[in-house]
Symmetry: C2
Subunit: 214 residues, 2 copies
DNA sequence: AACTAAACGGACGATGTCATCCACTTACCG
DNA sequence: CGGTAAGTGGATGACATCGTCCGTTTAGTT
């Protein structure tokens, strides 16, 4: 993918502008959502649109680069979760981290979901993330911290549900996300007599601009 | 609001076209989301854009009119829930109905949430819907079917979370929604030692085009 | 059948975004 | 310094959608 070509090879001023663009993109995307006008990003960065397009040929390239840091944080949380001796706690901490970011940064959710589970890969082999997640779930289940009929797809379910909270004012969304997570985790732990409806294999990258403004 | 002026006063052909437009709007909105081009609706209805705009001056007017039927169904479910001798069951049935519609009809969620709780009003006095919902919750709690720290705002939370599932393929979304609802209800019923994070008072009508396409 | 007001639909100007082009500027190297 | 390639930014054309205007068609009446 162009746009993330080694920034070290750039001239000093270009590298400076690249950073300003990324910062502007984070701000604008967080505030207006992922499909804010490119020109708005350029204006905020104090550069011309040409500079923006030269550095990041597509919106996707820009968004991906802009949220690399957040993605890295998620990946780190993923590693932590895998390393945590208490798998249930590790899983919870991971999901809390991701949910918080999803709900705080307006534009992050689409980027993240689009890249998921690659997003959590972060230097691991391909498919390692998905596998690691499965392992995390398995360990938590064996530790008696997840009900038997829990399915890894329920993670996806949680993340999608959480993404529905984005767009609320920041504090509200944060509070809502935490309560949602708490509800979910209590349900994840408590086995109940009746069986659950079957899990659905969701296409995470298929997140489409659902709500839209009225 | 114009657009829903008594259709009975219209000429026969105009009334016919009005129906075709509404049907087309339901189809197009369901398929492409609420901000599909107005011209697409007109084309599908087999009328010119002028006809569309004459009948429904704004997108909101069109969307509201198009989903009136679904809104009425929700309102009916609301009445049923209030009448149900088993308040827990009534509440569940109501939410299942709303969640299913939200997830099935792409464009319904924004319209519904924008009108909520008016949407459930349906002939009652203003604020009656919200009050009725509170009563429903209260009754269910007294019947021991809801935990003590359940908050009416958790209904909102559930609806928003469910709206995050829209945009998935129809069958997937349906399955996911049902599983989500099951998880939620188990959590709603099961009191647990630790306390929940506080509920957040969410602005339902503040649903903004969050995800957007990457 | 003839008349008229209602209804129609395509054309059109306005607006906003995208993404490229090109003439000008500037950082870096000798 | 001075040369030059990299970098820049605004102008620009392509494109899509919006919402209105207006000449034409048609339903309903006499």
């Amino acid at each position: 993918m162009p746009g993330d070509a080694d920034p070290a090879g750039l001239r000093a001023d270009a590298r400076r502008n690249r950073e300003r663009i990324l910062e502007a993109a984070r701000e604008v995307f967080a505030a207006q959502g992922i499909d804010a006008p490119m020109s708005a990003v350029a204006r905020r960065a104090g550069v011309g649109v040409a500079t923006l397009y030269r550095r990041f040929p597509t919106r996707t390239a820009l968004a991906t680069a802009a949220f690399t840091e957040q993605l890295a944080l998620c990946a780190a949380a993923f590693d932590e979760a895998l390393a945590d001796p208490d798998p249930g706690h590790g899983l919870y901490a991971l999901l809390e981290k991701v949910c918080t970011t999803q709900v705080t940064d307006r534009g992050f959710a689409p980027v993240f979901l689009d890249q998921f589970p690659d997003a959590l890969d972060h230097g691991h082999e391909r498919d390692c993330a998905e596998e690691g997640l499965a392992r995390l779930v398995q360990r938590a289940r064996e530790a008696g911290q997840l009900r038997d009929d829990f399915d890894p797809a329920d993670i996806t379910l949680l993340l999608l549900a959480n993404s529905g909270l984005a767009g609320q004012p920041r504090e509200t969304a944060l509070a809502a996300s935490r309560r949602l997570l708490a509800y979910f985790f209590q349900a994840f732990q408590t086995q109940r007599p009746g069986s659950l409806p079957p899990p659905a294999a969701m296409e995470l990258c298929e997140i489409r601009r659902p709500p839209g403004r009225l």
